[in-house]
């Protein structure tokens, strides 16, 4: 039943504005693929083109072996879940779920059985006679999901499905969707600006920025081996330092920061370091690791966030377990070691470059 989704060179222009440009990727059959990016990155437009709700300016779309590019919305048999649920407000829960079966003229008895089945699946049987306005946000989105799944779609497209919900409900629903997906195994494409959502749910993440793909990879690859400065800055939090590349290191002030990726010698670079990849030690004196002064300590229970000022004035933030901090206080001079730092040519980082010293940027709940 489930098919892979493949798009090639997908491009969409609205007047002079290029919303999507040369997007190519495959969402494997039965998996969850996330389209991750900030708002305005074109990810929703890609989804709407796959559904047939927008016509691509250029490019092709396949579901399985069948090309869909010129097919109408109805013919594509996709399930679509909208951010704001888009439930039919004049219909009950039951009628909403039945809609896709009724317009396809499924026999009445089969309709009834299928709706029952789906209401059981989303655990909303007792709410069948309610109208959407009588449901909570989480319940509405479950109805929307049941409605999308009822006609047995080839693929499921989710456009920021949890975007309009409270953080708590969002978490619950995310876990629930994960379970549901394991059970159904329908190819799913999830559009989100929430990296946690993408990293937790998806087998594969497509990071988009300004209409283009920045990187395609597993959640691990995206997080640990960002291919561009944008990905490094957008996924997870990162310190951004400035320096010059010298033989596999970046010279930041007097410190030599080892880097994990290949960058040409001699260029100005931005170095991205995850806060949990910064190690803090008591000052030993002499040569060796970089030295810094403790400027601020914020303790969040077991985790502490420490702002450190390096010799050249740049600030770097470290995150470490609070109990490793017992002998470090404000104003102390400490040693700093970083690992898994990644450098990108400064000009590549335009648009995401932040002033040195901005420290770690949390992106989890933007």
């Amino acid at each position: 039943m489930s098919e892979p989704i493949r798009v090639q060179d997908l491009t969409k222009r609205f007047g002079d504005f290029e919303a999507v440009r040369d997007v190519t990727f495959t969402a494997e059959a039965g998996s969850i693929t996330a389209l991750l990016g900030p708002s305005g990155s074109g990810k929703s437009t890609v989804l709407r083109m796959i559904a047939g709700l927008e016509t691509p300016t250029r490019g092709r779309i396949w579901l399985g072996d069948e090309e869909q590019t010129h097919k109408s919305v109805q013919e594509r048999r996709v399930g679509f879940v909208f951010q704001h649920y888009a439930l039919f407000r004049h219909m009950t829960v039951w009628e909403n779920v039945r809609f896709g079966l009724a317009v396809r003229r499924m026999p009445k008895r089969e309709q009834r059985a299928r709706v029952e089945e789906l209401l059981d699946l989303v655990q909303l049987g007792p709410f069948r006679d309610r109208y959407p306005e009588q449901l909570s946000g989480g319940q509405r989105q479950r109805v929307a999901l049941a409605r999308a799944l009822a006609p047995r779609p080839n693929v499921l497209l989710l456009d920021e499905p949890f975007g309009a919900l409270d953080a708590r409900v969002r978490q619950d629903l995310r876990r629930w969707l994960d379970d549901l997906h394991r059970e159904l195994g329908v190819t799913s494409l999830l559009v989100t600006h929430d990296q946690d959502e993408a990293l937790e749910l998806a087998n594969k993440v497509v990071v988009m920025h300004e209409g283009r793909i920045e990187q395609v990879g597993t959640p691990n690859e995206i997080y640990h081996e960002p291919a561009t400065a944008f990905v490094a800055g957008f996924v997870g939090s990162a310190n951004v330092l400035r320096g010059q590349v010298v033989a596999g290191h970046v010279q930041v002030g007097e410190h030599r920061v080892p880097i994990a990726n290949d960058v040409a010698d001699g260029i100005d670079a931005q170095v991205f370091v995850r806060p949990h990849d910064v190690r803090v030690g008591a000052s030993a004196g002499g040569a060796g690791p970089a030295r810094a002064t403790v400027e601020r300590i914020v303790t969040l229970g077991w985790l502490s966030r420490v702002a450190l000022r390096l010799g050249d004035g740049q600030v770097i933030t470290a995150e470490l377990p609070s109990d490793e901090l017992s002998d470090v206080g404000l104003g102390d001079e400490v040693t700093v070691r970083v690992r898994r730092a990644r450098a990108f040519r400064t000009s590549d980082a335009l648009g995401v470059a932040e002033p040195a010293g901005a420290g770690a940027r949390g992106r989890s709940d933007a």
């Binding site: 559904a51 047939g52 709700l53 919305v73 109805q74 594509r76 048999r77 996709v78 399930g79 679509f80 909208f82 704001h84 888009a86 439930l87 039919f88 407000r89 004049h90 809609f99 896709g100 317009v103 396809r104 306005e133 929307a144 409605r147 999308a148 009822a150 006609p151």
Partner: protein, 288 residues
């Protein structure tokens, strides 16, 4: 000056201000009631007063006359056709204006209000110019033996023209407000364009649409200026209820003029009641 006195004075000032507020509001309400009563209720009361003068039993007399009965029939037919046409096209035009962006859209949108701005007599005159002897379309219809001017077609035409804006203007904001997501959802669920319209869009705009229909109907029933010009005033053939009143007044048959006027007023009040009920229904649904 003690702090207590200051507080008290402030308190007094607030009370005075509140007192003045009540007075102003009272004056405004009075003006509003008087204005509406004098301008709206007085004429209506006058008609009732005059109509009952010959005695209530005589009120029904005009309705035994064939020209009066015919006038009502004609009004009903014109109103029905008008409502049917303005409803169908009104929804289409509103939908196109809200859902599509095209060159000249703003102009078209502004044009919708033209019938509000034009005097109905002008509309009638324009119709005569187009379809009357020597008009652009006269030859075409005359050759086929179709009478437009001084006949039902032109009367329907001008009434439609005058009633165009109501449905469009009532449906537009509702369409705008419901957005396109539900329609998109219906399409992804396999609904055709028509299924989407009848199962999703129409139920969502129904109260606004019914409100527009009621307004169009009231307008069509009451129209006289444009119809007067194109009808030719042929008794028992092109005479609507409003035209009958007009002629009865001229012929000093005031009793039947008032009786017919009272009936039309009654219909209007019924439509008005329906409109109020619809409005109530709509706001209640919005709040739910």
């Amino acid at each position: 000056m003690s702090a207590g006195a200051g507080v008290r004075r402030k308190h007094d000032r607030a009370r005075m201000r509140r007192g003045r507020g009540v007075a102003v509001r009272g004056a405004l309400v009075t003006v509003c009631v008087l204005y509406l009563a004098v301008l709206l209720l007085a004429p209506l009361g006058g008609i009732v007063w005059q109509a009952r003068k010959p005695g209530w039993s005589a009120l029904g007399d005009p309705f035994t006359r064939s020209d009066v009965v015919h006038a009502f029939w004609l009004t009903a037919i014109i109103a029905l056709i008008t409502v049917a046409v303005t409803t169908a096209f009104g929804v289409i035009v509103a939908w196109v204006l809200i859902r599509h962006r095209f060159r000249g859209r703003a102009l078209l949108n502004g044009l919708v209000d033209l019938p509000f701005a034009l005097s109905p007599v002008t509309v009638g005159l324009a119709c005569v110019l187009l379809f009357g002897r020597g008009g652009w379309f006269h030859e075409f219809f005359a050759a086929r033996g179709i009478q437009i001017i001084f006949a039902l077609p032109s009367m329907v035409l001008v009434t439609i023209f005058i009633s165009i804006p109501f449905t469009i203007r009532e449906v537009q904001p509702v369409l705008e407000e419901i957005g396109t997501e539900e329609e998109d959802a219906a399409r992804t669920l396999g609904a055709s364009v028509l299924q989407t319209f009848f199962r999703v869009t129409l139920p969502n705009i129904r109260w606004g649409l019914l409100y527009g229909i009621a307004l169009s109907a009231a307008r069509a029933i009451g129209e006289i200026g444009a119809v007067l010009v194109v009808s030719g005033l042929i008794q028992g053939r092109t005479e609507t209820a409003t035209l009958y009143i007009y002629r009865a007044m001229e012929e000093r048959k005031t009793a039947s003029a008032y009786a017919v006027a009272l009936t039309l007023a009654g219909v209007s009040i019924l439509i008005l009641a329906a409109i109020e009920w619809l409005k109530h229904k709509r706001t209640r649904e919005d709040e739910a």
